[in-house]
């Protein structure tokens, strides 16, 4: 089956195609699925239900709506043993529960270095200083008067998957891959904003600084700042959430999440990097010879099957089964995603559905007829530069097991005959 077919083909065709190329024993499983029948009438259909008889909540019952109460388990979670306190900690997006490419604001993972700052819009100031023609101060009102742009970008923490270098450790893609979200931002490009201050020719670096109790700082090369960096005040149409940097955060598309300074208060133009704590002590990648890579900004191409996964077993038994997941690259779009059911020996193309935007998550699906046997399920993404997502062993051969950051390796889920998934490594 050609890639064309999987991307463009109608669902029915695609599934037949898969069945053919997967070469699975479709007979028994397909029959079992098709023969499901009811012996007695379903009371949910034959009897009146309360929601069909009595009135529900009126408008304004919840002036700001929340998810259905039946979805109360779809929440961010943290791993308490990782850090001393939640004010200097991280939690994880429930990616196993989501679909499409946009992460709802309330479940976007949080990472704080000094808790989430609470800043009233009227108290907000942004300063631009350093090697500029005019050192300036802006209010939020001022920032709203610049021309705006809308872009969808993923934000991935460089440490996403960092606990998995030495071996399979956490049982759930929320915990192995959940330091990521994908959001449509509204804001102003740094190109526009910096033009207002007038960057001097010797201004080759930018320092971004937060207003929070960590006063987070990162050095950004001016070429990147002028290429696609932005400040944002809206996420998915509404104001940034407090924990995402309300009222203003920085966007550094495709580059590690730590650089996306929240509660942004200052941009300083300089002629050298600052080598602050988050670009020396942290966010540097220690290699086996004891030396470390610094300024490893770009997030490499990566993918993950979000369902089935350890928190999302297959519940229906053998038969038609939907595999779905996410893929992204800091270098562009995702060209293709392939799925293996045998631990990486053989691969079949998955179907990318929904918008394919640069430096944004892509959603993929792989529909197949599960025969109920054990599987070693993997996904592998290829980005628009032709980079193929590597295996963990390939990365470990270069980086060892102590580099913490930038683990973009292929993940394996072992599916047992019950449909339960477990985080494993294969060799």
């Amino acid at each position: 089956m050609s890639e064309e077919e999987t991307k463009e083909g109608r669902p029915g065709e695609t599934r037949r195609g898969f069945l053919r190329s997967a070469g699975l024993a479709v007979g028994g499983a397909a029959l079992a699925a098709g023969s499901a029948r009811a012996d007695t009438p379903d009371p949910l259909i034959t009897e009146e239900q309360p929601w069909g008889q009595y009135l529900g909540d009126g408008v304004d019952a919840h002036p700001y709506g929340m998810p259905s109460r039946h979805e109360a388990h779809v929440v961010r979670r943290n791993v308490p043993w990782l850090t001393a306190d939640t004010t200097s900690s991280i939690n994880f997006t429930p990616i196993h529960e989501l679909d499409g490419i946009i992460t709802p604001n309330g479940v976007c993972f949080e990472r704080h270095h000094g808790g989430a700052a609470d800043i009233a819009p009227a108290d907000y100031r942004l300063m631009i200083n350093g090697l500029v023609e005019r050192e300036l101060v802006f209010t939020l009102q001022d920032l709203m008067r610049f021309p705006r742009e809308n872009h969808v970008y993923f934000l991935e923490c460089a440490a996403n998957g960092g606990m998995e270098w030495r071996g399979a450790q956490l049982n759930g893609c929320q915990f192995t891959h959940g330091m990521i979200h994908n959001v449509m931002y509204t804001g102003v490009s740094l190109r526009t904003l910096l033009a207002e201050a007038g960057v001097k020719p010797e201004g080759t670096w930018l320092l971004a600084e937060g207003a929070d109790a960590a006063h987070m700082t990162r050095s950004i090369p001016m070429e990147k700042a002028l290429d696609d960096c932005m400040i944002a005040f809206k996420m998915n149409g509404e104001a940034l959430r407090t924990e995402q940097g309300y009222p203003v955060r920085l966007l550094v598309p495709g580059w590690e999440g730590n650089m996306w300074v929240k509660w942004l208060r200052r941009l300083e133009v300089g002629d050298q990097p600052w080598y602050h704590r988050e670009e020396t002590s942290k966010y540097t990648d220690l290699l086996p010879d004891g030396r470390a890579r610094e300024f490893t900004w770009v997030m490499d191409c990566k993918s993950i099957i979000t369902s089935p996964s350890p928190q999302m077993p297959i519940l229906h038994g053998a038969g038609p089964t939907v595999v779905t997941g996410l893929a992204w690259s800091g270098r562009g779009t995702i060209e293709r995603v392939d799925i293996s059911l045998d631990g990486g020996v053989n691969w079949q193309p998955a179907r990318i559905d929904g918008p394919s935007l640069p430096k944004s998550m892509h959603r993929f699906y792989f529909e197949f007829d599960w025969d109920g046997s054990e599987l070693l399920m993997q996904s592998r993404a290829v980005d628009s530069t032709g980079y193929v997502q590597p295996t963990k062993d390939q990365l470990r051969a270069i980086r060892g097991t102590e580099s913490i950051y930038h683990n973009n390796s292929i993940q394996t889920w072992h599916i047992n005959t019950f449909g339960e998934a477990e985080n494993v490594e294969v060799s």
Binding site: R69, H70, A72, H73, R77, V79, A84, D85, T87, G130, E135, L136, G167, Q169, N171, T192, A195, E196, A213, H215, P221, E223, L226, D227, R266, G270, Y275, T280, S281, L286, P288, D289, G290, R291, A292, R293, V298, P310, P313, L315, D342, G343, G344, V345, N346, W347, Q348, L376, Y387, P390, Q394, I398, E402, F418, G419, E420, E422, N423, V424, S427
Partner: protein, 356 residues
């Protein structure tokens, strides 16, 4: 680096639309020199940004014990899971590398800059320039980089060479990895058959997830997935009948107090899941005898105060929180105090609400 810069510059030249040369709109206002001075506190490896000042190791030791040791330990060894600041020499190429200021940090300017902008955790920007020089000197001393009679100042700052200064190089993935991983993807018979070599369940360090557990049960036993494990977000809560003997608390004051409590959160927890962290948990603190939470190692000063009959009520809490060290000399709470009476009242209302 130059290779990267060229590549990026090339990309930028193509991508830069005319707006790069846009005329200013005249928005914002000029920053005043005092404003720039207040926020522009960053320090670079070449010493740019260092203020005039100095401090010695022994002053730094006293400041460190007072402001930092509750979390980082008197010798920078790290209490519980708080960061370790000293030790780890020659471990970077080993299996469990210990990355500390002494073993890993390439530049001393980073220590000054970071302590000055972010520490002590939960009370940032409370140290003077001389304090930060002294503490930086003490951290150097803890890492055997200077002797105990050393004084650090803006004048000799650049003379200090950090042991791992040469330990870093610019991201080389462009040459070391990308060519290896850029190829046609293999589709069939890409390796010999594989088998499982490691399981996550053997380690089993994943946090509890009731919904996932229920789904796994359903996968095994069949049947419907029961309602989500966690309490529904908006389940109707029966109104608790107010206790007649307790005066009602002003909800707005309690809410304001919850905000003030953020200043305590680095060290104290309250609520159902509260446990001892840097400080004792504060459940039931109003009405509690001082120094009596089990399993918490109090200072002798606080234990003795409790044995002597000190009970926390609105009055004693207000006095303690206004000036912890003045009220109870020798107690170990590294908190400078809450000067605002309104803040204290709100906080005590909040703690009272959490004590009922």
């Amino acid at each position: 680096m130059s290779k990267f810069r060229k590549a990026l510059l090339g990309a930028a030249l193509i991508a830069l639309p005319a707006t790069a040369l846009a005329e200013p709109l005249g928005l914002g206002r000029p920053a005043l020199p005092e404003e720039v001075a207040a926020w522009d506190i960053d320090v670079r490896p070449d010493g740019t940004g260092l203020p005039v000042g100095s401090g010695d190791v022994s002053t730094g030791e006293a400041l460190f014990e007072e402001n930092c040791a509750v979390c980082h330990g008197v010798f920078g060894e790290g209490v519980d899971r708080w960061p370790i600041l000293a030790g780890g020499e020659d471990t970077l190429a080993e299996e469990n590398p210990e990355k500390t200021v002494g073993s890993y940090w390439p530049y001393l300017s980073t220590v000054y800059d970071y302590v000055n902008r972010a520490m002590p955790f939960g009370n940032a920007r409370s140290l003077s320039n001389d304090d930060v020089y002294a503490i930086t000197a003490y951290i150097l001393y803890l890492n055997f980089i200077v002797d105990d009679d050393f004084t650090l100042s803006n004048e000799n700052f650049l003379d200090v060479e950090m042991p791992n200064a040469q330990g870093f190089f610019f991201d080389d993935r462009e040459t070391a990895e990308i060519p290896l991983f850029t190829h046609e993807p293999c589709m069939t018979d890409c390796s010999a058959p594989v088998s499982i070599s490691a399981h996550a369940q053997v380690l089993d360090v994943t946090p509890e997830d009731a919904a996932a557990a229920e789904r796994r049960r359903a996968a095994r036993e069949g049947g419907e997935v029961a309602a989500a494990g966690e309490a529904p977000a908006e389940a109707p809560q029966p109104e608790a009948a107010p206790q007649p003997e307790e005066p009602a608390l002003d909800p707005a004051l309690v809410e304001a107090g919850a905000r003030v409590f953020r200043r305590c959160q680095a060290c104290h927890q309250v609520g159902d899941t509260a446990r001892n962290t840097v400080g004792p948990h504060l459940n039931g603190i109003v009405g509690r005898t001082a120094g009596t939470v089990e399993d918490f190692r109090y200072s002798p000063a606080l234990t003795e105060a409790g044995a002597g009959g000190l009970t926390w009520d609105a009055q004693s809490l207000a006095a303690y929180l206004e000036n912890p060290r003045g009220y109870l000399p020798g107690n170990r709470m590294a908190f400078p105090g809450l000067p605002g009476e309104e803040d204290r009242d709100a906080l005590i209302a909040y703690l009272t609400s959490m004590s009922r």
